[in-house]
Symmetry: C2
Subunit: 364 residues, 2 copies
């Protein structure tokens, strides 16, 4: 039997629930390893009760369900035989009196439809799978390591493609094709930003041509066996001035400050409130006269952004088995954007860096 | 001023609403032409009142908002200054007493957060933008034509790549790279399915190698200037037997039956209930001893699947300005899957075919 479903049933007990309805695609992948449902339409739901597990899907996924969800009971739904009626009959049959659902994912419409058949009082918003996903097992960390390794290879490949007049869009496409030729997927649309374009953290690569003497920011990730990597490198195309080198090194040192802080806390077996990691980096930048970043580092796994949350209002604490980015940056509108991002895991209370591409200032 | 926002305000009047909250990404694109927000996180909402239009987004999208939403008032939200409080203050200031929201897209969590600040009685589930999007203007149809044209080019390109032992995955990657090298995007992950693999309509291309004498199904789409194409072609690799040719021609004739039915209805200015189009094709297959398809044709535009809905339970009627697929198929588990899909538009009450790749039986 699927050990993740066993763990999930323990959480059901803990939360006094008889069952949980799973609608989030990566959560469906987590419980099955299948990742072929589209995000365009709602293709499947899982219902996990104390004794059985069900997959609800369209007839067009029948073969998929039989193959990739072989330990699930298949319930086909159609527009004229909708899933909420099937859910109701199972709930009645198994005498479910409390049903968890993913309020952060389920739409208001789906909820309204569901509560036409099921008493609202039965339904409890939960995020149980997140509690499981936030702590990665050895196999999951290995998958993220593999994704990061291909990310590193991608960086050393793309790095050699830099030349005067190449466009951001061309480089972004090269990144994507390299990853896909290596039988992986991108975990998000690659960002390539020249000079002032990088002052928008989410710049969309365009026809801007590369000219000498500017920073070039690459932010991209690999998805391999469903697990994501994410990495940002900023390099200098040309000969950086002393001031530009100092700017770069301020960001690098901000990252090292966050890393050292976390390492020393772990070594002392002290608890680490997740947002303090970025705060150390922000403080470093502020103390040295640079403007701190307003984005945040983040957990990573089946999603490129997931728990643990490192943003300022997060209540998460760092634990062994967590995998996350540390990514300080400094930005000046109309001038530049510099960011350095690596992925780290805590294994047996030790901090391990998974992305390994060089990050001393590279000038070409 | 943005004419789509003017049209939307007319719908607000018609529906007795003072304002509408837009959360769906393609709807945000429809009202702005900007398509750079990620699906991973909820990056932006639009609020359209009778007099003003607002964009709520994170500070990291500030430059985007200023550039691509220049006729919107920018309201930045942060985790410690959430959007529902900003929505509330606008609603109070503009004396909004009824607010539409997209219940098919908004999550239960977002709704709960919103209704902490806003009386539930003010909120009305609506799908206003869908009413606008279902009827395309000349410019939109031209964009879909351009996407279809690149789809046709892609088909004639990929067609020449067929050879013994090439894998489905290799061909799918070739389709994707060709489209992306032409400065477009894929509208969904391409499907390439050899022989029995095609009996699953949503087969995921894998390492299956091409061997002589089987059907090969291609289902792929282009996204160009935000608008989608979609096309399916089934060809025969080898020399088809008489029976195989008959099978193929049955599907082709089913499609032609649907097309002729729709054309004659339009010529007679008779109303056409959308599901009858596929039903004509299904009936043709059944009458000739082949099993009919259980999927449905669909509208297409900013989404690859959108209104008009052609599935059996749809209440839509066909109108000028609609763009949609007609895609019959027949499947036999473990044996084959044959499907032919083209995109059509109704322009001035005439049916126009937008995809033009050949669809007589091609044998290689």
């Amino acid at each position: 039997m699927n050990s993740r479903i066993q763990q999930l049933r323990k959480l059901l007990d803990k939360e006094n629930l008889d069952a949980v309805l799973i609608s989030t695609l990566p959560n469906i992948t987590y419980l099955s390893s299948f990742s072929g449902f589209t995000t365009e339409d709602r293709d499947a739901y899982l219902l996990i009760t104390k004794k059985r597990q069900y997959i609800f899907t369209h007839p067009i996924y029948r073969e998929v369900a039989q193959k990739d969800f072989s330990d699930f009971i298949l319930v086909e739904y159609r527009r004229n035989n909708p899933f909420h009626k099937a859910v109701k009959s199972i709930i009645e049959k198994e005498k479910v009196t409390s049903l968890g659902f993913e309020a952060f994912d389920l739409t208001v419409n789906d909820y309204e439809v569901l509560t036409q058949e099921i008493n609202k009082k039965l339904l409890k918003p939960v995020n149980l799978i997140d509690q499981l996903r936030v702590i990665k097992d050895v196999e999951e960390i290995q998958k993220i390591k593999n994704a990061c390794k291909l990310g590193d290879k991608t960086f050393s490949y793309i790095f050699k493609k830099l030349k005067t007049n190449i466009t951001e869009k061309e480089l972004a496409t090269e990144i994507e094709f390299f990853i896909k030729r290596n039988n992986a997927d991108i975990s998000f649309d690659p960002v390539v930003a020249f000079g002032p374009n990088a002052s928008q953290p989410h710049h969309i690569p365009d026809g801007t041509k590369l000219k000498k003497n500017c920073f070039v920011l690459f932010d991209f990730g690999v998805k391999l066996n469903n697990y994501c990597s994410d990495m940002t490198r900023t390099i200098f195309f040309g000969e950086a001035t002393k001031e530009q080198k100092e700017l770069y090194n301020a960001v690098l040192n901000a990252q090292l400050a966050s890393v050292d802080y976390l390492k020393s806390k772990l070594a002392q077996k002290q608890s680490v409130h997740a947002p303090t990691i970025d705060q150390v980096g922000r403080d470093y930048l502020t103390d040295h006269g640079y403007s701190p970043f307003n984005h945040s580092s983040h957990g990573i796994g089946l999603n490129v952004h997931e728990s643990p949350h490192l943003y300022p209002s997060s209540n998460d604490y760092m634990e062994s088995g967590m995998v996350f980015s540390i990514e300080p940056g400094t930005y000046s509108e109309g001038n530049y954007g510099i960011r350095i991002e690596d992925i780290f895991a805590i294994e047996n209370n030790k901090l391990i860096q998974l992305t390994k591409a060089p990050k001393y200032i590279i000038t070409i």
